[in-house]
Amino acid sequence: MLGRTLREVSAALKQGQITPTELCQKCLSLIKKTKFLNAYITVSEEVALKQAEESEKRYKNGQPLGDLDGIPIAVKDNFSTSGIETTCASNMLKGYVPPYNATVVQKLLDQGALLMGKTNLDEFAMGSGSTDGVFGPVKNPWSYSKQYREKRKQNPHSKSGDSDWLITGGSSGGSAAAVSAFTCYAALGSDTGGSTRNPAAHCGLVGFKPSYGLVSRHGLIPLVNSMDVPGILTRCVDDAAMVLGVLAGHDPKDSTTVHDPINKPLVLSSLADVSKLCIGIPKEYLVPELSSEIQSLWSRAADLFESEGAKVIEVSLPHTSYSIVCYHVLCTSEVASNMARFDGLQYGHRCDIDVSTEAMYAATRREGFNDVVRGRILSGNFFLLKENYENYFVKAQKVRRLIADDFVNAFNSGVDVLLTPTTLSEAVPYLEFIKEDNRTRSAQDDIFTQPVNMAGLPAVSIPVALSNQGLPIGLQFIGRAFYDQQLLTVAKWFEKQVQFPVIQLQELMDDCSAILENEKLASVSLKQ
């Protein structure tokens, strides 16, 4: 049951094959079993069970709130959850319990979803590995998969001596691990430079980044206000669409959301054929650092579309090479601004020094933030200085406009959807990842994903195939602004073509089988 898609499990609940409480308990026990993955910072067991109880009542009365009623979900720990600690994986907010729910969290709860817990991340969502939070790094479930272990000629049942475990990618690594390890059916991440799509690719999931302005950011603790969006991680495209249908829409509390541009509920049609479709391949995305495996997959994907009748053309996004630098200027500038509120006065960590206000501020912020955050604050303040503002911030905004225009031009030339890699390579071992610092890693790993945030476009990473090492590789589709539904429709067609295999976490399942009913986790096809 835990391996099913959201829609399948929703149907099962409605048919009474399983109750919300049973489902909740299964997920909770699996969370306990997979604690070593470090996917969750907070497991909200009591809350979830209470929600399950209420959901059960509704099902008994034949009045479920909707398709999400009784479905276990997880939320990245940078979303404000009322009464549940929200830390952003930082010392600054350890012990901070918000008094309100983020709009997206509220929407999920209003649909009866069960909140299993808050997931781990890089501190304040800064990073591409989910390795730099105060609660430690997140382990990629694929490290323990049969597919990976067999390739490495290791005993698939050994969990010990796993010093070579792989990163999940980031910064929404906890959410990705939670969904990938079957502890929930969907999870909220955030995406500022690729933080939902990157871990989705590394963990074999669908990672969806909606158009900027489509989904409310109220309650999402901001990294870069002009680029952040809530992201959705699921096991299949239909599930992502279902969640998007619940989340999308204007929020009066967020002045950057637009008024109702999509139909709700969101049901994706099945594309009969792609002959009317035009796929664009941006040539600037073919960089030397791209692994040959991914390059080959990318090429095969393009061929697939062509062989099925779609038009596949090469396009140019000429300002691509400037994107990552501009992203860093604008990102650090906004970070410096957004982090100014953390002074220990109203909430969060406060140091013991009381010599003067300035001293208190300085010590609180030094103690509360890790090096990555502090580094970005310093850089950002530098760019915002009066003498630097024109040369850095304004310049970066101008180039940002050029980058956004690149995409507009590509779409205006007849392209419906762009196809690119999501990451440079498959997930790497943690020990290898930490050889480079956060700044370097972010600059490398975000290369395909952050231009999308600069332009505010929707994008989705779809798991395509396993690498030679048995690890997931994803490819990215990018759509026109507010054409999220169309984008997901194309993605759904593609997903059906590639039939990405389900992760085989046999040994985890075996451990749980004593608690679960007799269920064998066979390869579950993605057909509904």
Partner: protein, 444 residues
Amino acid sequence: MAAPVLRRGCRGRLWALACVDGGSCHGRGAPTGSPSNRIRGQSSVAQQPLHTAQKPRKGEHNWAAVVGLEIHAQISSNSKLFSGSQVRFSAPPNSLVSFFDASLPGTLPVLNRRCVEAAVMTGLALNCHINKKSLFDRKHYFYADLPAGYQITQQRLPIAVNGSLTYGVSAGKERGQVIPKTVRVKQIQLEQDSGKSLHDDLRSQTLIDLNRAGVGLLEVVLEPDLSCGEEAATAVRELQLILQTLGTSQANMAEGQLRVDANISVHHPGEPLGVRTEVKNLNSIRFLAKAIDYEIQRQINELENGGEILNETRSFHEKLGCTVSMRDKEAKQDYRFMPEPNLPPLLLYDATSLPIGTDPRQVIDIDHIRETLPELPSVTRERLVQQYGMLPEHSFTLLNEVGLLEFFQNVIKETRAEPKKVTSWVLNIFLGYLKQENLAVSER
């Protein structure tokens, strides 16, 4: 002479009239030396005959003073500029604080319509050009009463620019004649107020009350067209009246609803402008005039003694009647201005640009606001003079006291006496009685 008129019924209040000979009032009324001198100097502001005003001090060249004002007026609205918490004076500490006001992470600003309307009304009343598109920015600095570490303001493109404020000046020779003077309004911008800090030196701590944090402010920036304390005080008084008439701000200085900062410098006419100082914490019209005149004279004395003026911030010390350097406040702070990313550009419409079929609750129509503006004080005075044949300076008095105009008009209605007699009675007998008994008009 105009001086005696000023003093009548003027107990502590400054009329919206200034005794100026039409030129600059350098060297006049600014006290030097000992405190007793300063007190005398204050009363000499009102009494000093005009022709002595032009005598330069200490036998040096003429000095000209240049005064620019930044006026912060709290917008009279039910809720704050970017959040729904209530706006009220004297509420229990930290009882009017929303999540956004407390800068809880994840909260976002939502613009208050009433505040925008107030800004447009004020801009129109001050003959400003209303920018159909204006932008919001963040101004960063760390201070305990600024929870977010930045203030949301309008630095790049404010809501209104290039206006004028006309105030009335009593001319010398002919009694009752009023000459209008104008100071240019550089801009009006919307911005957040900060919280309040109460320093408890006994326990070495500071108490923070965030009730005021986030309240909407109109910052009115006046060009440095003023040249002395009197002019500044008069201009501010007129602005106060306008705001109160519009209802956009109660503009009560004692309650902190109107705060003025003055930028002051001196120079020799014909030479470049001097270094300016900023004088803050001026919370009454009287102190405003005092502080400015003191600072002008202080700068003159300093320069004449071979010293130099520092570009610094000074505060006005009420008891001592002088300005003091605020050494803990750095003169130069880099505010690291950045566009506020959570607020899209503010777009306003007029009759020509309003799209058909728009929901009127979702947009602001400048022309509609212009049509519904109430009668401004200058127009009212003009009308009173025309209608009742009173002296212009009488019209000033009637408008200067809260409720007096209404009272006057009620009396006119009830009586068959000649308007001029009523005017005289109201201004002399009635007002005199009130002053004697220390009553306000509304308390009768």
